[in-house]
């Protein structure tokens, strides 16, 4: 088992990010898409923390802290919108929401 280097962490987060994007494109359910976005966010966070460790600083962790906070806000609003949308038409399929207003 090779010792994990910064590269391996970065590679991991790259893969994670790719997975997230793939989810955004593949899934036909808004909830899952939001989840995929969270995955992407976490990929980024991982990078921050890893580089933090590499450079021996704490700023990365603080950024992570902020990212998570913003993610919380994003989730709250996003889900609220989602609920509103679902009320309008009984669907969570992004392809169903192709018009700006109805």
């Amino acid at each position: 088992m090779p010792e994990p280097t910064l590269n391996s962490f970065l590679l991991l987060s790259a893969v994670l990010f790719a997975i997230g994007t793939a989810g955004v494109f593949l899934r036909r359910n808004l909830i899952t898409i939001l989840l995929s976005i969270e995955v992407m966010l976490n990929a980024v966070n991982l990078t921050f923390v890893a580089v933090d460790r590499f450079r021996g600083t704490v700023d990365g962790q603080i950024i992570v802290f902020f990212v998570i906070t913003v993610a919380a806000a994003e989730a709250a609003v996003g889900l609220a919108i989602l609920i509103a949308l679902f009320r309008h038409r009984e669907s969570l399929n992004p392809d169903a929401f192709t018009s700006l207003k109805w």
């Binding site: 991991l12 989840l35 704490v58 392809d95």
Partner: protein, 173 residues
């Protein structure tokens, strides 16, 4: 020891994430995501960032994911339905889906190549989990250098709260 746990956690992380986006039941997705978060928290601890790990668990797992669960339950989680509508719309629905997936694969490959080109950057050797900085230091940095950002975030949260309430409120008819 360190290496082993890294590889285990990484595997869990990747598998969980793949499954999150890889299957159709949002409920399962949520829980798989929680799993991946747990793995991530483990990685953070490996990286000597217990604070980040705890925040990750408390906020993500403890709050955000519960919120997701809530919504899934409230909307009774309709699993994916096929895109309806005219041909054009279906085309523009389906086309991007697969092409996008391919794109993200390409993206991953690209990044991988880029990383391979880089010289290997070994982590500074420190005993496992020994925090780079104590919560104390982080607190100092957070409230001194990042004070403004912190306050701004709090305002953001407030706004998000109000927004969420307004949006989700069933408009009185």
């Amino acid at each position: 020891m360190d290496a082993i746990s890294f590889w285990i956690l990484a595997t869990i992380l990747v598998l969980a994430s793949v499954l999150v986006v890889g299957q159709r039941n949002p409920m399962h997705s949520v829980f798989l995501l929680i799993l991946s978060f747990a793995a991530l928290a483990g990685l953070y601890i490996l990286l000597g960032a217990p604070f980040a790990a705890m925040i990750q668990v408390i906020v993500y797992v403890g709050a955000i994911m519960v919120l997701f669960l809530f919504v899934v339950m409230l909307l009774n989680a309709p699993t994916e339905e096929a895109t309806s509508g005219d041909r054009i719309r279906r085309m523009f629905g389906a086309g991007p889906r697969h092409f996008g997936a391919v794109l993200s694969a390409v993206f991953a490959v690209e990044l991988a190549l880029a990383l391979i080109r880089l010289a290997s950057m070994p982590m500074p050797s420190a005993d496992r989990g020994a925090p780079v900085a104590t919560v104390y230091d982080i607190g100092l940095r957070l409230f001194h250098d990042y004070g403004f950002a912190f306050e701004a975030t709090s305002v953001l949260i407030l706004v998000a709260m109000v927004g969420a309430i307004v949006l989700a409120r069933r408009e009185a008819r």
